[in-house]
Amino acid sequence: MSDDLDLIRGTLDLFILKTLTWGPMHGLAILRWIEQVTESRLQIEEGALYPALHRMEQKGWLDGEWGVTDANRRAKYYKLTAAGRKHFTARLSLWERYTQAASMVFSAKEAIA
């Protein structure tokens, strides 16, 4: 069911991109942000976050840069690039159309003759 995986991975990418529209963050901060806004309703396997981040870095959607946290520890901060922002906008509208269509299907009340 690779379609499913693609869907889930694509979703994770979208979450990350959306999160980073708020500003540069390290991986853990991204997770916390998602947990916060979803009120921890989504169980993300945390390890999967990093391949996604690095892959998007490779594609030029994110810029990774080492920085120092408030607690004075080295962490890798990710920043949305212009290309990443553009990609996010495009994917988001696609996603919205898809979910709209999907919810129309799932919420259909009666069979159309």
Binding site: E46, G47, E57, W66
Partner: protein, 880 residues
Amino acid sequence: MKKIFRLPFSRDRVRRDVDTELSFHLEGRIEELVAKGMSRADAELEAGRRFGDRAHVEAEVEQIDVTTHQRRALRERFDGVGQDIVFALRQLRKSPAFTLIAVLTLALGIGANSAIFSVVYTVLLKPLPYRNGDRVVRFAESMGDGWNNGITFGDYHTWKTRQTSFEVLGAAWSQSPMTLTGVGDPTPVATRLASADYWKAMYIPPARGRYFTDAEDREGGSPVAVVSYALWKNRLGGDPGIIGHSLTLNGQERVVVGVASPEYILGPPAEQVWIPLAAPVSRNDDHGDHEIAVYGLLREGVTVAQAAREIGDLQRGIAAQYKDAWVSQRVQVQSLSESIVGPQRTLILTLLGAVSLVLLIVCANVANLLIARAAVRRGEIAIRAALGASRARIVSQLLVESLLLGLAGGLLGVGVAIAGVRFLVTSPVPVPRLQDVTVNAPVLVFAFSLSVGCALVFGLLPALRAAKLDLQQTLRDGGRETSGAVRERSRAVLVVGELCLTQVLLIGAGLLIRSAILLSSVQPGFATNNLLVANILLPSARYPAAPEREAGFQRVEEAIAAIPGVQSVGRTMIAPIHGGGWDCNVFREGKDKNDPSAVDANVRTADPSYFATLGTPIVRGRAFTSADRADGPLVAIVSQALARRLFGTADPVGQRIANCIGSNTTPAWHEIVGVSGDMHASGLDQDAPPELYYPTSQFVNQTNSFVVRGAVPVTTLLPSIRRATAGVDPLVALSAVSTMDDAIGRTLALPRFTMWLLALLGATGLILALVGVYGVISYVVTQRTREVGIRIALGAANTEIQWMLVRQGLILGIIGTVIGTAVSLAATRYLGGLMFGVTSHDPLTFGIVAVLLVLVAICASWVPARRATRIDPLVALRAS
């Protein structure tokens, strides 16, 4: 892409970074959980559970990062080259004169060379189209002096039955044209006899059908024919169903068994028919008549020399057996390509040599330009180095610039080559195979790579030097060169070299031009203008023997003579320039053919009006008359050259001579009745050969060559002549019709063509040398702006300044000319056979070319010199 400071890539660093990143994550989670009240150990477990397989994630991320780094490095390299290209283009645009000259030089060199080499290749060098072309040999026999490609049936038969060196030995024999009837108007068709083995030796798959079988190539074999591709296309409508159909040739039906390959051309005409040789058994012992052309296909692994030894042994055996006959003592075996290319070797080598010289000049010029440019740019390079550009970067930028120049020149050169080939193909010079010339791709690639390579090498040397600059020194000098002498000298050497090479080219071209002029002023010994030559063949069915033939020819001659506008008409067996007639030894009465006083002379026939029509004087005695009848006393006319060789200063008229014609045993003595003026009958570049004439009535041939002098332009008479001929006999047709001027033009075509090619190459060289000298002097002017400014400020006259600079060009010119003259003296000796009437050290040619080159050097330096006099001293001094 924005470049930021980044540490160099290493796998260890990637691993460490990934580890740090993931540890930070886990550590952050653990602290979070501990803060919520979990024990440290539980927190670690819980964080690990949430994270999943850490080792796996680490490996995956590492791999992604490695790939990212590799891609980025690659992209940056491309970006760097891209930047270099943009930069180079900007630099080249900034100095359009330099760019234009360099690109044009390269284009001219690559293009002209490729075009000319393409022509040389197709016309002279292209491999033979036969399947085993490298193993095909041709034979020649010698009776004493000179080699004769005509082999006797007897020799051929003996070799064929005893040899072991060849897979096959085949023979062919050119015949008089046969008349093709039943397909449109009756047409004469060039005819060759060919043995079945001939086709095996010279094999190219036939276009249709097949070649002869052994059964057909036998006396009494079925009458068959193979037609040439051109005959099939032009006369037979290219009908694919022709195989198995009959053609009527000289009244006999022959079944067409094959159409030869279109590539199968052993000399014109393209329209030919082959019929089986069917070597007559009765002639297996004929070792006297040298008639057939013999070709052999060497067995694999047998060398030409081995085969020659074997055939030589066989021939000595034959000579020992037949002491009396005219048996050849020696046999020559020569590879077919050698026998075709061999006579043209000087020509080929000359053209190839000239092409190489031009290529050398091109390289010298490009080197020159690039060295000059590097010098001009010292300042700029020093500044860039000072600003932190690495050496590698500077060198790569200069190289990219050279490469761009080379590529641009190369591309334009391809265009020049195509245009050049088109120009040469449409040139009015009739050269065989010229129409087939196409741009020769390997040569184009070679010239292209050479030029780009040249640009790279000469771009690299100055680039490396520039990169080693002593920055401080150069910047302090204001970018001007303090040690310019070395560079100037190397450029001067290059220019002198160019001038010298150009001189060799021009002298070669000049010698050939002089030859061509002298050649066209040769008096041929007869009036060539307004003279038409046409052959007539009388089919043997209706004209079986001498009396009918001679009567037939006379009727045709009378019909032509009666046409208004025809001033005069005469007959011979073969007209001068059109062939050599029969050649065999002529001897005085009381001697025999083997006597040392015998002279190898062309034998032709002449009718009473022949000499008068040609305009050749009878200097002693009389011309033939209608009283010299077949049954009358045998008479002859000798040319002055033959008279001199046979009789010295004595009067030949009244003496009797004989030759091979007539009887093999008792000589047929002819009394000399007249002496004719000499004719350059074998071509204007040949001495007038000794010639012997018999009356057409006493030596009758199946073909006669008619010479017609018009009172009006003779080509306008052609339709009337055809009508008159057909009026005598509708089965008789004219063939090989041409004016004498055209025929002579054809013999001069190749020398003229060579002359033109050399002249073109010489002109190319001259232009390049001009550019070279101009470049050097311009550079000197730039370098000495300050000095010139001071001189002007101090009141030097314009002429003084100009002379100071022109003198430099003049010195270069003189040195180049002196060396060039010496080199030319050595080189032109190899032109040998291509020259006519001039020596290889013709003072006139050498003088004119030397003066021309020095003048060019002066002109080329005068232009920048004049510019120097307009230097404003204030600007010049302030600029430094």
